[in-house]
Point group: C2
Chain length 408, copies 2
Amino acid sequence: MNLRQRRKKHLGNASSFFYKQPLHIVKGEDVWLIDSNGKRYLDVYNNVAHIGHSNPEVVDAISKQAATLNTNTRYIHESIIQLAEQLTATMDKGLEVCYFCCSGSEANDLALQLARNYTQQKGCLVTKNAYHGNTSVVFQMSPEDCSLEFREGWVGLVGGPREYLDNKEKHLSDSFKVAEELKKEGQAPAAFIADNIFSSDGIFSVPEGYLKNMYDLVRSFNGLTIADEVQSGFGRTGKHMWGFQHDDVVPDIVTLGKPMGNGHPLAAVITTHEIAQTFNKKYGYFNTFGGNPVAAAAGLAVIKYIHKHGLIEHAQSVGSYFKEELEQLASSLNTIEDVRGSGLFIGIEMRSNNEASEALERLLDEGILVGQTGPDNKVLKLRPPITFKKEHADIAIQGIKKALTLEA
Amino acid sequence: MNLRQRRKKHLGNASSFFYKQPLHIVKGEDVWLIDSNGKRYLDVYNNVAHIGHSNPEVVDAISKQAATLNTNTRYIHESIIQLAEQLTATMDKGLEVCYFCCSGSEANDLALQLARNYTQQKGCLVTKNAYHGNTSVVFQMSPEDCSLEFREGWVGLVGGPREYLDNKEKHLSDSFKVAEELKKEGQAPAAFIADNIFSSDGIFSVPEGYLKNMYDLVRSFNGLTIADEVQSGFGRTGKHMWGFQHDDVVPDIVTLGKPMGNGHPLAAVITTHEIAQTFNKKYGYFNTFGGNPVAAAAGLAVIKYIHKHGLIEHAQSVGSYFKEELEQLASSLNTIEDVRGSGLFIGIEMRSNNEASEALERLLDEGILVGQTGPDNKVLKLRPPITFKKEHADIAIQGIKKALTLEA
């Protein structure tokens, strides 16, 4: 059997490949991925390798710590405390208690537990095509994957930035009705949760007032606010460390994941002492791997690297350049309907799902990796490691230009 | 602020320490942990560092792979396929599809999703003091933490080995009634799940017929069987790779975790093609970090090391020696009520919770780390890395003897 057959036999078909001919990647270097034939791809897709594939400083930190000690947070260990201090220092006063876990799914699951316990309410408001993860309850909070047929009554869908930008008043009155309906059914919203770059909702920078209004709304139902920073966090969206800071709000709970350990499984929930204590008194929380010394070392190395290399400002400036170039390209190509996003998280909305899929495959031929997302799956997702430079943006632009101007 | 104050400020009090004076561990070497004062502790507790703390072969595998590539399972990668092949080769024919995730909690959450989807039933039978993890639904399946006050109606509690050994017929008729009750309420059991060393139920080797009978029972309700091997797996219980193999049953779903990456976050769900396909057709599953190349490298290194050093047989022989010595000690000490377990997972049941707590602290003074578990928290949990040797058992025996014979 070849690799693909062996994979099918033992990994089944749970998760699809990105491409018709799946990629067999064997090496990663900064913004480059190399396949088994030695072909190099410019990685404009993978956000997990946040500060570059195989970043030597993270590798070094992991290797040294793994050779020294890897236990758990029931023992005192300096580095996890340092990581908690450094993370909470980037957030508003009050957000100072961290729970460490292994994945964004675990983080969002715990965030909902915290909110439900604190509010003693059950419901949750999520955006219409949100993705927040894959545990039993977080799957429910992910209408991108969980269709109406499988959805439980405690989930209320509200419009994302598209609906808000179309008609703010309608968006807010519709959202209010959804919350009211949940309340009427005895499932008032425990929380409103949003991914603050709205990736699966089509990629939008936070529109001014969107979070402010939604936070006010859910709080009027005594619900909490959860900022899902799993995708938008760690400086990717430019200007700020966290996506929610673009709308100058203070969430009650923040969840972190993907880029946090540059690939090492590491995630966190950050909240206030009041919310944490109310939960800990009744339940407590322990996560075997969450925040272990090796994960902490990876997390510290990532933050250090971001600051040392000014990567938040870098994401802002390279992202702006990249987006402007794409906008210019869009103005001359009628296959592109819109270019959106913030920092190094950019969406190119194509006219159709098919055109987006075709572009994805053509870009692969050009040696450029991008993703596909959005409610109709017609948005190309550009989300490279944030060490991505102007010269890489230029390569990407040339490739996109070529891929989109080819005859079908 | 000192470390402990800083920890409280930023990690809160979600998880308790093991000891009145928390340990500040800075280094791990095989079966030894070393604190910040240089004091060495024989680790008779930590099962996650399955093949020894800072095992050089795992460190080397992780370091090399992290320096080469760390992506995700939407690309083809050789090592995750190898890991799936090696894992499934240790199980009965039919158990051949792997889902990789980051923690035992994620694995058990997914296992319940698979069972619920396949059976189209909602309930779950768990042992009375089970612990299976901490996601929203898995917390429900963990009566050790989730008390009656918080328990949802779909969870049915059945007796563990203690009840079975006391009176098999009563155990089975009681269990049948619980399943009947769930069914009556429209929540027939989708699954019966058991940790096959019954750690939080007081540590028991699988009694002959226990799993056979419970599997027959839940199957008579069209439910599936889940073997939670997060604690009992990877040869720890001696003789077999997996705990369920002690009762010669074939579960429908097996979950793996803790020791799987020797501390690297890695877990899995293994099931049949039929169960997987039924799920994948409707839902699919993707886990960002689950089964990434670094995790796969850690998993492969662990399996290789277990086989190369014959650690299953080793766990059996050292475990038997250790248990016999403990039984001899028990016969001369009336503070010990029972010695139980299998391989290198041994429980010493003390007369009371207090006596167990005192013993734990005294053993710390003797430089020996053990845990505490069971429905009344009166069982000392001995569960060292399985590289633990006869000479380490001798040190532990001397320490336990001294700790238990000291005047209060």
